[in-house]
């Protein structure tokens, strides 16, 4: 037996672990899990656990629906937030077909394929996302009602400020216990909005980490009777929750984005990567911003990107190149500002990476840096400068994705088809709704 598996078995025994959760993710980025007992573990590590793929979105096929969850032993980790009494552990799984081949609907598989493509070009891909989210009063929130920010909730024992800092402290400690170093901040501009900045790791580890962080944030909040949500735009009139994603490519130990002879310290690789991301941004937005609600965040006036452009110090740009201190070559990176916190991190990282790699392979030309605040330009000026917009709705985004060869390739036919079908259905459901906006605006006036 491999030492990693031996390590898992011994740890389960030594720590008296009662249950082991098998984690995986569906196409829409929802965490899924089932748990097994230590008695089943040894066999499960070797052979995987069979489950019915058809019960889970995106994991269904017409005929054979049984698939295997193959635990990735190096992701084995005790869950400190469930540590009351007997500890519980989790292990992230790859989903494979019964013959052992990767299951096409597994988002980890999609990302691994994209990372393999980067590797074949000599690169490893590092990402560091900033996850924004809101706390609201009440654990579940009344379905279909507006959420109540914590500031307006009634808490007798704690002021809202105390409560937020207690949630923050517990979240940070739990994440650090799980080996996830974080920087944490509270927003001033939107009520009850918080942000967790993750330190970079390779993209696969980071996608697993994003799933873990979302779980821990919600879990810690729920223990205090508070709801945490990664919904992209939960409240009108204030900022939404983005997942600004910092990215760099490394060639061995060398930051392939850095070049000290360039006036912006950007290498040709970086320039082409940015050009690739910008060139394919419209096609991949359905993945980085996958919900009807996502497009209510991507509007003018709330620091969210709308226009396809890049800049060094302009927060209205879609791609920002953060200034780095002189000589800090390793921290040269780009920041892609469109994704929201409710994206599937595996698919989002894969899509942006694939767009960037295409830019490198086909030597795309980087457009000029956006000089002015793009929001102040007139439509005619933007047209003259050739500045396009991100899709304005899920429907538009899905149309653009459907025509994209790149997206079909990076997602694979199975995920591509399923995703389009699912998102068209979501849009159809949305279109059949009559909203409070319409009653307010039309009911008496018309």
């Amino acid at each position: 037996m491999e030492r990693q598996q031996d390590y898992v078995l011994r740890t389960v025994e030594e720590r008296g672990v009662r249950f082991i959760q098998f984690w995986f993710t569906d196409v829409l980025g929802t965490a899924k899990s089932f748990q097994i007992t230590p008695a089943e573990l040894e066999n499960a590590l070797e052979e995987g656990m069979t489950f019915d793929g058809s019960t889970i979105d995106g994991f269904s096929r017409v005929q054979e629906s049984d698939v295997l969850a193959m635990p990735d032993a190096k992701t084995f980790q005790l869950l400190p937030y469930l540590a009351d009494g007997h500890p519980v552990a989790r292990v992230v799984c790859d989903v494979v077909n019964l013959d052992g081949s990767p299951f096409e609907g597994d988002p980890r598989h999609v990302l691994r394929r994209a990372l393999d493509r980067a590797r074949s070009l000599g690169f490893s891909f590092f990402v560091a996302p900033e996850l924004e989210y809101f706390y609201f009063a009440g654990q579940d929130g009344p379905a279909g009602k507006a959420p109540v920010p914590l500031d307006h909730g009634s808490y007798f024992d704690l002021t809202t400020h105390d409560l937020a800092s207690q949630l923050r402290r517990e979240t940070v400690l739990t994440l650090e216990d799980m080996g996830i170093p974080v920087e944490y901040s509270q927003h001033e501009d939107a009520p009850s909005q918080h942000e967790i900045d993750l330190r970079y790791t390779d993209a696969m580890t980071m996608a697993d980490t994003v799933m873990t962080v979302r779980m821990v944030v919600k879990e810690v909040a729920a223990r205090h009777g508070v709801m945490a949500t990664f919904m992209p735009k939960p409240l009108p009139g204030v900022q939404g929750s983005g997942m600004h994603t910092h990215m760099s490519l490394f060639d061995g130990d060398t930051n392939a984005f850095y070049d000290d002879s360039d006036e912006y310290n950007l290498s040709p690789v970086a320039r082409r990567f940015i050009a690739g991301v910008l060139g394919h941004a419209r096609e991949l937005t359905a993945v980085t911003n996958q919900w009807v609600n996502s497009y209510k965040r991507l509007i003018i006036g709330y620091e969210a990107p709308v226009y396809i452009s890049w800049a060094r110090n302009n927060r209205s740009a879609l791609v920002r190149v953060p200034p780095t201190k002189k000589g800090k070559r390793d921290s040269t990176r780009i920041e892609y500002r469109a994704p929201d916190s409710a994206a599937n991190p595996y698919l989002a990282f894969a899509a942006v990476l694939a767009a960037g790699l295409t830019g490198i392979e086909q030597e795309y030309e980087l457009p000029l840096e956006a000089a002015a605040n793009l929001y102040e330009l007139s439509p005619a000026q933007r047209l003259a400068e050739g500045i396009e917009s991100l899709p304005g709705s899920l429907s538009e985004a899905v149309d653009m994705m459907e025509r994209s060869e790149l997206m079909a390739e990076v997602l694979g036919e199975h995920v591509f088809e399923w995703f389009l079908r699912n998102k068209r259905a979501e849009w159809a459901d949305y279109k059949s709704e009559v909203t409070a906006f319409e009653w307010r605006r039309y009911l008496t006036a018309l």
């Binding site: 030594e14 720590r15 590092f126 216990d177 799980m178 080996g179 970079y200 696969m204 061995g252 130990d253």
Partner: protein, 206 residues
């Protein structure tokens, strides 16, 4: 060989060249084919600054008389054809007698304790929940305190294979380990600028 890692060594020079960083734990010397060379090797091993012990000699029955007056060269012996159970039992006993237990089980450094047998790490008695690679990295560092390792060395010694992240993976894992060690003990692992990482105090106290 009873589960112990071992290396075949032909000469005193080989014993020096192939010695692991943390030193040999013992030696088995086969004297049944070339007794002269075997005894010479034993003598060299016993004359080192830190004489090698325990030393188990393997001899044939008709060599037993040659052991006379050479008692200082070995700690125990085994007669060919030896049975593996006998060899295992003798090794276990030798290691126990020389205070090493059956294998080097515990690595301790300040409040940090690693149990190599059970893969468990604890800090001031509180168990640390490490992933496999975090454990392996901490084990490697803690068994070589005071030494500075480059990222490349750590990658090749701990990971031992090509990994998605390349040498940057090491930085990521060091950060994760520091997070788990907590603020108070995070400095157990220090960054040595433009070189790599060091566990614990420098040998020179700097």
């Amino acid at each position: 060989m009873a589960g112990y890692p071992w290396k075949a060594v032909g000469t005193p020079h080989g014993a020096e060249r192939l010695e692991p960083d943390d030193g040999w734990s013992g030696a088995i010397v086969c004297a049944d084919s070339d007794p002269e060379a075997a005894f010479a090797l034993c003598r060299t091993l016993r004359k080192r600054d830190m004489p090698l012990s325990p030393l188990l000699l393997i001899v044939s029955t008709d060599q037993l008389s040659e052991l006379e007056l050479r008692e200082d060269l070995f700690d125990d012996f085994c007669v060919t054809p030896w049975r593996s159970q006998e060899l295992d039992a003798r090794l276990a006993h030798l290691f126990w007698r020389t205070g090493r237990g059956t294998r080097p089980d515990l690595v301790e450094y300040g409040p940090l304790v690693l149990n190599l047998e059970t893969y468990q790490a604890s800090l001031s008695g509180r168990p640390l929940d490490l992933t496999y690679m975090e454990y392996e990295l901490l084990k490697f560092l803690a068994t070589h305190p005071g030494k500075v390792f480059t990222r490349e060395t750590l990658l090749s010694r701990v990971w031992g294979y090509e990994y998605y992240g390349g040498a940057r993976t090491v930085d990521v894992h060091i950060r994760r380990l520091r997070a788990k060690l907590g603020e108070e003990q995070a400095n157990l692992i220090s960054t040595v600028r433009s070189v790599g990482y060091r566990f614990g105090q420098s040998r020179w106290g700097a």
